[in-house]
């Protein structure tokens, strides 16, 4: 938050502190005030206890089964639900590209012809709509990594980022193009982050590049023959932080 948004009331600051909305300097200032003021420290504990209670006891109710169908009918979405249109799009573009014999057309529209990117977006969206966004649910990387053995050519690198507020939730298998791809799912607050590790032994290492597609932020980079894609609806700063942490943390910590 910017300086002008910082309220005077110390109790409001405690709430903002618990919610992780303060920058490091202001967070430190609140910690000092709480150390000196037991009433503020108690407020902080109560807020944290309440958040835990809500997280653990409040049921998350799914929408009734017929709702999706009624919505699709009311906006006349084709049923059964069309495959995410990237397939059709990618196919038609591939044909066009062949007919135009490549060079000029592709050079003019390089951003539109990325079936991998579109596949990553589609896989992430599908996972959010599925009853379970993960195939193997575990916060333990020693459970998640072996799960991929035998399912994909190479199990992905898995690191534990729970301390940095990006706990591992699990993993799943996505199919990008025709390749089974291991996807790790991390969580930041209530938002899920899908991290796909697409095998790409022929690609040189490249630094992360940010894209926004259909309301989702994506970061992609290449490292050690793996083409990584991180996608989520968290803000760009948070996603950037996540990717940095993932790249710099050792799997053997």
């Amino acid at each position: 938050m910017t300086r002008s948004m910082i309220p005077e009331d110390p109790r409001l600051l405690v709430h903002a502190y618990v919610d992780g909305e303060l920058d490091p300097a202001n967070a430190l200032a609140v910690e000092k005030r709480m150390a000196a003021d037991p009433a503020l420290a108690a407020e902080c504990e109560r807020v944290e206890a309440l958040q835990r209670l809500v997280r653990e006891r409040l049921p998350r109710e799914a929408p009734p089964p017929g709702l999706l169908a009624r919505i699709e009918a009311s906006v006349e979405l084709p049923r059964p639900r069309a495959q995410p249109s990237w397939r059709a799009l990618a196919a038609s573009i591939a044909v066009t590209a062949v007919l135009a014999s490549g060079s000029t057309w592709l050079a003019l529209a390089p951003e539109m012809t990325d079936p991998v990117r579109d596949g990553v977006v589609a896989a992430h969206i599908r996972s959010l709509m599925a009853p379970h966004p993960i195939d193997v649910a575990s916060s333990d990387r020693h459970t998640v990594k072996p799960w991929f053995n035998g399912r994909v050519a190479e199990a992905p690198r898995v690191v534990d980022l729970a301390k940095e507020e990006f706990p591992l939730v699990g993993g799943r298998l996505d199919v990008i193009g025709q390749t089974p791809v291991p996807t790790l799912v991390y969580r930041h607050r209530q938002h899920l982050i899908s991290l796909m590790a697409v095998p790409a032994s022929d690609r040189a290492n490249s630094a992360p590049v940010l894209r926004m597609v259909g309301g989702y932020n994506m970061l992609r980079w290449t490292e050690d023959g793996v083409f990584y894609w991180a996608i989520s609806d968290i803000g760009t700063a948070d996603l950037d932080k996540f990717v940095q942490l993932f790249r710099t943390s050792s799997p053997d910590q």
């Binding site: 309440l50 409040l58 929408p63 009311s74 969206i125 309301g215």
Partner: protein, 179 residues
């Protein structure tokens, strides 16, 4: 009006993934399942008609904004008293500039932790709507303050005071001895 496949695809990508959050928010605002279904269905129709205006930013915040506004329209039509009463409460509390009730008991953390599901649900349902929706968006759906300000159409400072008031009331209610 002719609508292309593009709109359908966009709708499926932008709106449908957030159906669960949309339904949850509508249920907490309206207070019951049947009304929440109507609100979400209506909101989806609005979102579909406006799908071309969604450019960048968080798709979830965009969808929840529409759901929230639709829910308020619904309440204005069906239970206008709920909204009027709420504005009065907030005006009084803002005038006193104190979050929550200053005389409320401040229960021990352990007591909060023991609260069962039914009591918690009842306590949240009993919150005035602006406090309730802010609390749900933050503590259930995990939006940050900036996103909540966007969804509820108020400044961040108001989000903060509503959150503090809502939580204080909730803590006081669940900390009270069961009657």
């Amino acid at each position: 009006m002719v609508r292309g496949d593009d709109d359908n695809a966009r709708f499926a990508n932008v709106v449908l993934p957030h159906l669960k959050d949309a339904y949850a928010l509508a249920r907490w605002i309206t207070g019951n399942r049947a009304d929440a279904e109507d609100v979400v269905q209506d909101a989806c129709l609005r979102a579909f008609r406006a799908i071309r205006s969604f450019a960048n930013g968080s798709a979830r915040a965009w969808v929840l904004t529409i759901v929230r506004n639709t829910a308020y329209t619904w309440i204005g039509k069906n239970r206008p008293a709920a909204l009027v009463a709420v504005e009065d409460i907030e005006a009084v509390e803002i005038a006193r500039a104190i979050p929550g009730d200053p005389n409320a008991e401040t229960p021990e953390t352990a007591l909060i932790a023991q609260t069962d599901t039914a009591r918690l649900e009842a306590a949240i349902s009993g919150l005035p709507i602006p406090f309730r929706e802010t609390l749900i968006l933050r503590d259930v759906q995990g939006l940050d303050y900036r996103e909540i300000a966007e969804v509820t159409g108020v400044p961040i400072g108001t989000v903060m005071s509503r959150l503090a008031r809502g939580r204080s009331r909730l803590i006081a209610t669940i900390g009270r001895k069961e009657s």
